[in-house]
């Protein structure tokens, strides 16, 4: 599925296939877009995120069953991130769930909309739940960066800029009804706007009057730097929620949800592997590269990139639990690395107030 904004992107935009979506990876260069995101404000084409609506009298109960966090009282002015698990506790997706007057709207992770839709449809048992794919008529545009709040003020309404985290407002932009949310994926001030596809191009163009576009590569790098989970990189076959380090995206105090038993079992069992950040080796190691401590094999690399912020390799390794701690000297593919505590890069937004 191509972005509805593809016609708005520069001709030399680098695209990539991510799951079911064709998404812009870079509009210019990774370094430039990264600096925009970390230093100023970046506009993000999040059209690769699927949008799935859950409605019907049983909609909220259904959502409460299929989402791993508590959404029973998710009101229409709130959103929250949650995992969606299968019965064996494996991660299906990581979604942003928006409370709506008539149910919920789920935003999938990049390229995972079709898989999420299939998963949900397979679990609808009653007529009182309707699942609707809204990806054809709605799309998502993001703003991210230490001065993204200023863009919100100029683009829509200054009153919205300082919304509390995970707040949602139904508002209008250019006489078009949109859903506006304070979100954030990179530790910087972050906002998302869910807009009708026919208005997306106009909003994209108007956003670019106040900020610069950044592609998926810059976004995912900045996410990694603050240890924001990126399912498509971090969810490996057989890995439990705990091994992935996404415990905060499940709520085992809930009475029940799909996959709960497996998660509880993993919690109770303890042990197993954990995910930890590392830096050090000059070249970006391949996925699956073995990780060793004192000559012993303790795990593998699950994701690694070149961090612009650190000017070094930055990766995630899934290793024996007791060695998933910061400040350890390990080796990756025979080269020395040091494990890190997150965030690996301190977001500039943490020291910049919204005024």
């Amino acid at each position: 599925m191509a972005s509805v904004l593809a016609t708005e992107h520069p001709e030399d935009t680098a695209y990539g296939e991510v799951g079911d979506a064709t998404v812009p990876l870079r509009f210019s260069s990774l370094a430039e877009e990264y600096r925009v995101l970390r230093d100023r404000a970046a506009v993000l084409d999040l059209g690769g995120h699927g949008l799935i609506q859950i409605t019907g009298s049983g909609g909220v109960d259904f959502a409460q069953r299929v989402l791993a966090r508590d959404v029973e009282y998710l009101t229409s002015d709130r959103c929250m991130m949650s995992l969606v698990l299968d019965e064996s506790g494996q991660v299906v997706d990581q979604v942003l769930a928006f409370g709506r007057e008539d149910g919920l709207l789920l935003e999938s992770s990049c390229g995972a909309g079709a898989r999420l839709l299939e998963h949900l449809l397979a679990r609808v048992a009653d007529d009182d739940v309707q699942i609707t794919d809204r990806s054809g008529d709605l799309t998502v545009i993001g703003l991210e960066g230490p001065y993204a709040w200023g863009v919100v003020g100029r683009l829509i309404d200054a009153e919205l800029a300082s919304l509390p985290f995970e707040s949602v407002v139904d508002t209008t932009w250019d006489d078009v009804e949109i859903v506006f949310a304070r979100t954030g994926l990179t530790g910087e001030y972050g906002y998302q706007m869910i807009v009708p596809v026919e208005s997306a191009a106009a909003m994209w163009r108007r956003s670019l009057e106040h900020a610069q576009a950044a592609g998926l590569e810059a976004l995912e790098l900045a996410m990694l730097e603050v240890r924001q989970p990126i399912p498509r990189h971090e969810v490996t076959p057989g890995a439990s929620v705990i091994e992935i380090g996404a415990n905060w995206l499940v709520d085992i105090t809930k009475d029940a949800f799909v996959g709960k038993d497996a998660v509880v079992e993993a919690f109770e069992a303890g042990g197993g592997r954990r995910t930890v950040g590392f830096t050090g080796c000059p070249d970006v190691p391949a996925l699956g590269t073995r990780v060793q401590a004192a000559g012993q094999d303790i795990g593998e690399v699950v994701y690694a990139v070149r961090s612009v912020g650190l000017d070094a390799t930055l990766g995630l390794a899934r290793v024996t639990g007791e060695l998933a701690a910061a400040g350890l000297e390990l080796s990756v593919g025979g080269l020395p690395v040091t494990t890190l505590t997150s965030p690996y890069v301190v977001p500039k937004s943490w020291s910049i107030p919204i005024i």
């Binding site: 300082s162 139904d170 005024i355």
Partner: protein, 758 residues
């Protein structure tokens, strides 16, 4: 619609910057602050030691001998109250008819804002309303009496509620204000939150923390026509006020400023004015980073491009944060600013004025034309209050407050006999009683777990009650409509759990207070938690008149509906006891042998809606609110004879709780409501203070619909009348068309609510 103009004819104040309005104003305009290091050595344990203290000599020099026997909080209040009454020309030996046309005692009320519960000589907390009682008794005020406790916004809130009492015609004069002393525990709590500045506070510039203060302030409010008729001089008009709930956080203000802006906008709408009419804003200006940043947003949201041209200053830089008194202190300053045409400064202002786009009147008072002032206050619990004060204008035609029918559409009792009206009705029908048994909240959820797990038991009960009442009403309102749903919280004493936990932590180590408990010590915290959980951002307030709180809260809800400020208001009452397990002998309300009430814990909510709104959505009401009445200082008979509630009724759900006070209430009911059956809720639940009053209302509403009322099990020898006058079987002998619910704060206020079948 032009409402009856309400004016201020008297001012009184005592605080660190002066012991009367003249001295206060002289120091404000001279930039002479009153923040000094605390003299009491007990405070030496804290790093931050500046506060706005009132010397004891300032208090005692100004009080007659008969006032000196009361506690310091009441003495502070009496100093300011007497000044206001005197300036208004209503002094002599208390107000009364025949003195220059002044209001009769029954038409002269007091509405007092207070944040902190006041310890007595033994260190036990007095009832919150005791200070208002002390002032009213000494000044002979027998009109409406309300203790409002919206924490740091209470003083401003009191002024607004006083205006309501004049607009409804319940009072011809109201003394409105606030009081709070400097208390060690509160100081430790703010220190624990790291909210205190180590030097004199500097609102809007350094914003490195606040200083606590103490004091009292009162404004004497009257209708313009009556004030002029008796030759009084109006000092200012209380043109309007606005309340709002942040529905955001227990202590931190909503960083968007939405809540604060909403209060200003509502106040201006109430006054029939626009932001363009405002010349000066008296800011809350505590000096904390969160508050000051939020206030700047409020200014920009409300005034837009004009924000930098509307001077706003914070006089807490002179007096510190006087908590429940602050709103009244600042209202007094605002009236003086209008009178003198001078904006008081923000002293200690450190930045160059050019460093901000807003005008904080740095360091020097500014003569300027001022016709309209907005005075803002913000509080823990997310309560916001804005007052609009204007220069007084001449007499003019006005309309009465519209009479709008209101109905009760949802009931949410959470008690030891059950949670929800279905369970409680089943218990009533089965004759089951559980006095003193705490409610169980097991079996379902009432709030997001992320909020629930941080809440104390009182808030949990109140949220459960609110959720159940809301669901019972069948209300399905969109998000935008929830922004206008009101919430009135009623409690006698707030969270015993949090208060006890906090006090215990202070006793162990004042530098390690239980800060989470501290944020829940303020009595409006539970109301704030309900707003946050249900997303209600309409007008909100908290009433603390002991067992009479619920009926007074209902009055507030009705006033919101009459004034068009809300179509739907949730009233929730909650109190808890820390008493051990209930004794084996249950209390028997109105029973001769019953020695004392059994304390209990409960939360009871009900939904009040305009009849129009209910009909418009196809809702089904339990009852129409036909009338309410409150009396002070007298027995039950006085309130039963008040015209709004007098007349034949088939059922009275009384305030009897199984103590010796029951006798006079029963006798009064038998005398004033012959033929009615009398019952009470305390046999079911125990004496749950404010929640018992609300439970009486709920049971009266239930009786109207279901012909069902709690039987007084165990009643053999009533204190008054014969057994035939009491409900002894839950199934009532005949349908009930009119039922009366009674509330009582013994020695203070009694209330009655008349409900009619719909």
């Amino acid at each position: 619609m032009a409402l009856r103009p309400v004016v201020v004819t008297g001012l009184g104040i005592i605080c660190a910057a002066g012991r009367d309005p003249a001295e206060f104003w002289r120091r404000l305009t001279a930039g002479q602050g009153g923040l000094t290091p605390i003299e009491d050595e007990a405070f030496a344990v804290f790093t931050a030691r500046y506060a706005g203290q009132v010397p004891d000599a300032w208090i005692d020099d100004r009080l007659p001998a008969e006032d000196r026997g009361v506690d310091r909080t009441a003495r502070l209040a009496l100093v300011a109250a007497r000044q206001a009454v005197e300036q208004a020309g209503l002094a002599a030996r208390g107000p009364g008819p025949g003195r220059a046309g002044g209001p009769g005692p029954g038409r002269f009320g007091i509405i007092l804002g207070k944040c902190q519960a006041t310890p007595d000589a033994e260190g036990r907390y007095q009832p919150m309303h005791r200070t208002a009682d002390a002032v009213a008794d000494r000044l002979g005020l027998r009109g409406p009496r309300i203790l409002v406790s919206t924490a740091c916004a209470a003083g401003g809130n009191a002024v607004g509620l006083a205006r309501d009492k004049i607009l409804t015609g319940e009072a011809d004069a109201v003394l409105a204000g606030g009081v709070d002393p400097l208390l060690f525990g509160t100081y430790a709590g703010f220190a624990g939150l790291q909210a205190l500045s180590t030097g004199p506070c500097r609102p809007y510039s350094s914003s490195d923390g606040l200083n606590l203060g103490e004091g009292a302030a009162f404004l004497l409010l009257e209708p313009l026509d009556l004030a002029l008729a008796r030759g009084a001089t109006p000092l200012a008009e209380v043109a309007g006020y606005g309340l709002s709930a942040d529905a955001y956080h227990a202590t931190a203000p909503d960083p968007t400023g939405r809540g604060g802006a909403s209060a200003v906008r509502r106040a201006l709408a109430d006054a029939g004015l626009t932001p363009a009419d405002v010349h000066y804003v008296s800011g809350h200006g505590t000096g904390t980073p969160a508050n000051d940043a939020m206030e700047a947003k409020v200014m920009r949201l409300v005034f837009g491009e004009r924000a930098g041209r509307v001077p706003t200053s914070g006089i807490k830089s002179f007096v510190g944060h006087t908590l429940g008194a602050a709103g009244a202190v600042e209202a007094v300053a605002s009236v003086l600013a209008l009178q003198h045409g001078v904006a008081p400064p923000t002293i200690g202002f450190e930045d160059e004025p050019a460093a901000t786009d807003l005008d904080f009147v740095p360091n020097e008072a500014r003569p300027m034309a001022i016709d309209t002032v907005v005075s803002n206050n913000y509080a823990f619990g997310g309560n916001n209050v804005s007052l609009v004060l204007t220069r007084p204008r001449g007499p003019r035609p006005y309309d009465g407050l519209p009479r709008r029918a209101a109905v009760i559409t949802g009931l949410g009792p959470v008690t030891g006999v059950g949670a929800g009206i279905t369970e409680v009705a089943e218990a009533v029908a089965a004759g089951r009683q559980e006095p003193g048994r705490p409610p169980s909240l097991d079996g379902r959820t009432y709030a997001p777990r992320s909020l629930w797990r941080h809440m104390n038991h009182l808030s949990r009960m109140a949220i459960a009650a609110s959720r159940l009442a809301w669901e019972d009403a069948g209300l399905k309102l969109p998000r935008k409509a929830l922004d206008d749903v009101g919430l009135v919280f009623a409690t006698a004493a707030g969270s015993a759990e949090s208060t006890g936990g906090f006090d215990e932590s202070i006793a162990l180590n004042p530098n390690k207070p239980a800060v989470l408990s501290f944020s829940n010590v303020v009595l409006n915290a539970t109301g704030g938690a309900v707003c946050q959980t249900l997303g209600l951002r309409g007008p909100t307030t908290t009433i603390c008149n002991g067992g009479a709180s619920a009926s007074i809260a209902l009055d507030c809800a009705l006033e919101m509906i009459r004034a068009g400020k809300a179509e739907v208001v949730l009233v929730v009452a909650a109190d808890e006891t820390t008493a051990p397990a209930p004794p084996p002998d249950p209390p028997v309300p109105y029973g001769e042998g019953s020695a004392a009430p059994v304390p209990g814990s409960a939360a009871v909510a009900f939904v009040v809606e305009s009849a129009e709104h209910c009909a418009g959505r196809g809702g089904r009401a339990y009852a129409r609110v036909a009338g309410t009445a409150h009396t002070t200082g007298a027995g039950t008979e006085a309130v039963l004879r008040e015209p709004p509630v007098a007349g034949p009724v088939e059922l009275v759900v009384g305030a009897g709780a199984g103590g010796p006070e029951d006798g006079q209430e029963a006798a009064a009911v038998l005398d004033c409501a012959p033929g009615a059956l009398l019952t009470a809720s305390a046999g079911l639940t125990g004496d749950c203070q404010a929640a018992t009053g609300a439970m009486n209302l709920v049971l009266a509403a239930l009786a109207l619909r279901e012909r069902l009322a709690p039987a007084l099990t165990g009643l053999i020898a009533p204190r008054a009348g014969t057994i035939g006058s009491y409900v002894t079987k839950p199934d009532l002998p005949a349908p009930v068309r009119r039922a009366l619910a009674l509330t009582a704060a013994h020695g203070s206020v009694r209330g009655a609510v008349l409900l009619e079948a719909v």
